[in-house]
Amino acid sequence: MRSLQTRNVLGLSREYKSRKKQFDVETPALISWSNIEPLHKIKGKLFPFNQEVLVFPQWWVSIEKNNEHLKNKLLVFFPKIFPNVPELFPQSMKEEMDYYIESLKTIDAQNFNYISYIPDQLVATEYFDQLIELDPTAIFILFSYDWKSSPSKFVETIIRTRLKTPNDIALGLGGIIPPYLYAPLVYLGIDIIDASWTLWTCSQKIAYFKGKEVLLDSNNLIKKIIQEREMNLCDWNLSQAKEEIIFVRELLQKASLRDYVESLVYMDPLIAFILRHSKKFQELFLNHIPITGNPIFCPTELSLDRPEIIAFHERVDKRFIPRSTPIVVILPCSHKKPYFVSQSHQKYGKVLRAFYKSTGIFPEKIIVTSPMGAVPGDLDVIYPVAHYDIPVTGEWTETEIKTTASYLAKLLKKYPKNTKFVIHTSKDYEAMIKEGFKETGYQPFTENYFEKPYSTEALNKLYQELFSAFDSLENIVKESAMPNVNVKQEYVFKLRGMANYQYGLGVGDEITAQYKDIVVRGKYPRDVAFFGGDEKLATLSFSTNKIVLSTQLIRKIWSKIENKVWFEGDQIKGSSIFIQGIIDASPEIRPQDEVIILSKNNKLLAVGTAILPGDLMKIKGSGVAIKIRKKVF
């Protein structure tokens, strides 16, 4: 019986919650053999696993009988015979899997909340699909080898399994799992972790303390702490494990699990390996990264590979087109985010506005930074551009230079070759920018690298350079530029850029084409509203870092929107759309994306916010996929 539903998706990790009141489970969770319930429910009991349980364990009880009391428990159906030795018996494993699946059918497993098993060598086969059809609550992957000895195989197996698991079935893993591996495993997509290893270590006189394994000898200080709290070692280790998993759950809700995993790389080389190796498969789950989130901290080079950043650039690649101003300024990043509220960028903004008032050209900005690479100035409110933090020392590593340069080159190529690039940054960025231009073969119009690019002299220089760029333009271009009196013009650029980014290429351009005089009301840090005449067009929220188009506007331009979901019926009832009702969804949809819901006949039904990524909406599952924002009649 599938009783879970996805509440939150973050990359490969999912946060599940039970749909049923009686069966109260939340993941990520630990499991203990005793009652097969989440650990937090077992209060102070050490080994509830006793000999009575041994004789009549729940999973052995003949299920055909009327066992109502088992309905709200989580049962474990373990295969009776398990020749998990692929090197000796490749065929036997399959035979036993046939028997196993057959036996699950005969005991009518679908009527129970249960854990089923699959050996790692069969996850890529049709056995996995057969198992899914039997509706297990969770699937445990049993590795036939010590997965720490061949982590690459392990990481690949888990990721590939995760990606084809429906959104209401949890994945579990057992084995040697010390608490500090909980976060990396949850990051890889494991939902349920077997806690018995912590008990095993306590019998070896090993205590867990702040994630580290400590061997207790007679005068150990940690031993004293444990004694002071009047706990025994097993209680202690279990409580450490519980704390860890609760913390991981918290991080998952806050969408900052990756930060924590990165901070653990010194615990075990395996964690660094998991991060590096999972990068290879990153493009498979980029659309599982939510489009909003919490601040991310990027202290090491590992952060360059963060999926949030890669997902951002992937979408920029697909959905960003320049405003095609003939002049483009390349600026450095600022510590304060979003950039445009920082002191330095306010100064640059003054210069740009002054230039705009006299020439009618508002140069586009490109902001160079690490690890984000190069960011179009109009997209500086978007997650994670407005959310990252790095320790700026001015010394960049080779890899950072290379990565940033390649992002810059990619972005530059979107501009026509004759664009006048005015470079105005601090000296630190010189290497990256030169490298980036070298890659494209473009020539910057002027290059100025300053100690303090926001100093008065530097700003004067920028003003001069802008005018010299203007002077070099052909007359036709100059004449076509018309100054617009709107002082909040920059917000309109953001509206255009972000609408393109969030809703699909061309949406923003369509809006600015239809509404020439957009009125902007409000100012950072409050929400900014856009009006076209009397009509409200959109709201830009700095708390969700999203732009939300109004329903009236969507009605007019919905055909341009790329985030489409096709719904079975002709009418929507209630405030959410369940996965069962979805016929198709565009694969580009990411969690928290604004989507439009269409009927089979392409009639606009509603607008909403996606909970699941587009590809998961298409795998057969259950639970809420979209929260409806407004129905359109």
């Binding site: 004789v55 364990p57 000796l88 065929q91 036997s92 036939s144 077997d194 306590c202 019998s203 061997l215």
Partner: protein, 367 residues
């Protein structure tokens, strides 16, 4: 009937081991304490007879996955030797000079009732010479269930009263699936039941061997299976249950898996739990647990510190059938054992990973 795929592996190993066999031609015997059928205590004299190897193990498929006894049986013992067996066994008996009630056990590492191993007239002679003695209270012979037939039983009853005879049959598990897909026992529960019912109808007692932890089973499941098998066997009238903990014998599939670190012999704790549970539920049943190679890595073992203690407790219990010997046995490793049971199910299902870890921990500085 289709054999499971892993049976091919057994056949391969059995063929390979044929060239390495070191058979003996001697009769081996020893004395130990043993419970009597009427509840008293006595002494048992065990004979290992050098008959030819078990016919089932010599078959094309290679026999049971855990059995390495055929390697010690002579492939073709001289008839002369077989014919002198009654005299030799009597000689051994006279030499031991044991007083008081006694149990005689004839073990052939095959089937005592198989006429290819022991011709009927030899086995009758052997039984009758001991059955005549007042001192002998019980004669235990081992056989596969298929040889427990009317003809064989009647030939036994010609020379001995039914109450003096116990036939020990290797049940291994009452679960046909385990017997077929893990042990390759070649016997079903139905066949076993037939043999038991037939023997019981003549008043002959049956002892059932139950295998604790066959290959491919987790420790947890094997405990459970052993207890269930015993329950089922007792229900149809088996009078003695012998818990045989797996031990890794040479030239077996089990050994191959052990060498690949894919099999761990059971913990002594498991034997203890199973024994205790069966005896508690059925006080009238004799429960014998004498793990072979206990405490060694190839036999049932715990942490190393408590092995001897648990083993002694088990053999004391087997002798006296007094459950108090099994009470209050504790060791640091009991907790580890419990967590092992859990972790094994959630982990690989094979237990080897944890063993490895345990060994590597020994390199840590001693406390």
């Amino acid at each position: 009937m289709n054999k499971p795929a892993f049976v091919k592996e057994i056949a391969k190993i059995r063929n390979k081991s044929k060239s390495l066999r070191a058979p003996h031609f001697r009769v081996i015997s020893w004395i130990e304490g043993s419970p009597l059928p009427n509840g008293g205590r006595g002494t048992s004299l065990t004979f290992i007879l050098p008959t030819r190897a078990c016919r089932f193990a010599e078959a094309e498929h290679g026999g049971c996955s855990m059995c390495g006894y055929p390697n010690e049986n002579p492939p073709d013992p001289p008839l002369k030797l077989i014919e002198t067996l009654p005299e030799i066994t009597m000689e051994h008996f006279m030499k031991k000079k044991v007083e008081g009630p006694m149990v005689i056990k004839f073990f052939t590492s095959g089937s005592f009732l198989d006429r290819l191993e022991l011709p009927p007239h030899i086995r009758e002679k052997m039984i009758s010479q001991f059955a005549q003695l007042e001192q002998i209270k019980e004669i235990i012979i081992e056989s596969r269930a298929e040889y427990v037939i009317k003809k064989n039983i009647e030939s036994l009853l010609k020379v001995a009263p039914a109450e003096k005879i116990t036939i020990a049959i290797g049940l291994e598990s009452a679960d046909d699936e385990i017997n077929k897909r893990s042990v390759n026992k070649g016997m079903t529960w139905k066949q076993f039941k037939r043999a038991v019912e037939l023997a019981r109808s003549y008043g002959i007692r049956i002892k059932a061997y139950i295998l604790l932890k066959p290959i491919f089973l987790t420790e947890y499941l094997s405990i459970h299976d052993a207890i269930l098998s015993a329950e089922k066997a007792i229900e149809i009238g088996v009078e003695t249950i012998s818990i045989n903990s797996s031990n890794i014998q040479k030239g077996t599939l089990m050994e191959k898996m052990f060498n690949l670190k894919r099999y761990r012999s059971p913990w002594l704790w498991s034997s203890l739990i199973v024994t205790k549970k069966i005896k508690q539920r059925h006080p009238e049943i004799r429960v014998i647990t004498d793990p072979v190679a206990a405490g060694l890595i190839r036999g049932a073992h715990n942490c190393g510190k408590c092995d001897k203690m648990v083993k002694n407790a088990l053999s004391e219990f087997s002798y006296t059938q007094d459950l108090s010997y099994l009470e209050n046995i504790t060791c640091d490793c009991y907790e580890r054992y419990l967590s092992f049971l859990i972790a094994d199910i959630m982990g690989s299902g094979l237990g080897f990973i944890f063993e490895d870890y345990e060994l590597s921990k020994k390199n840590l500085p001693k406390q």
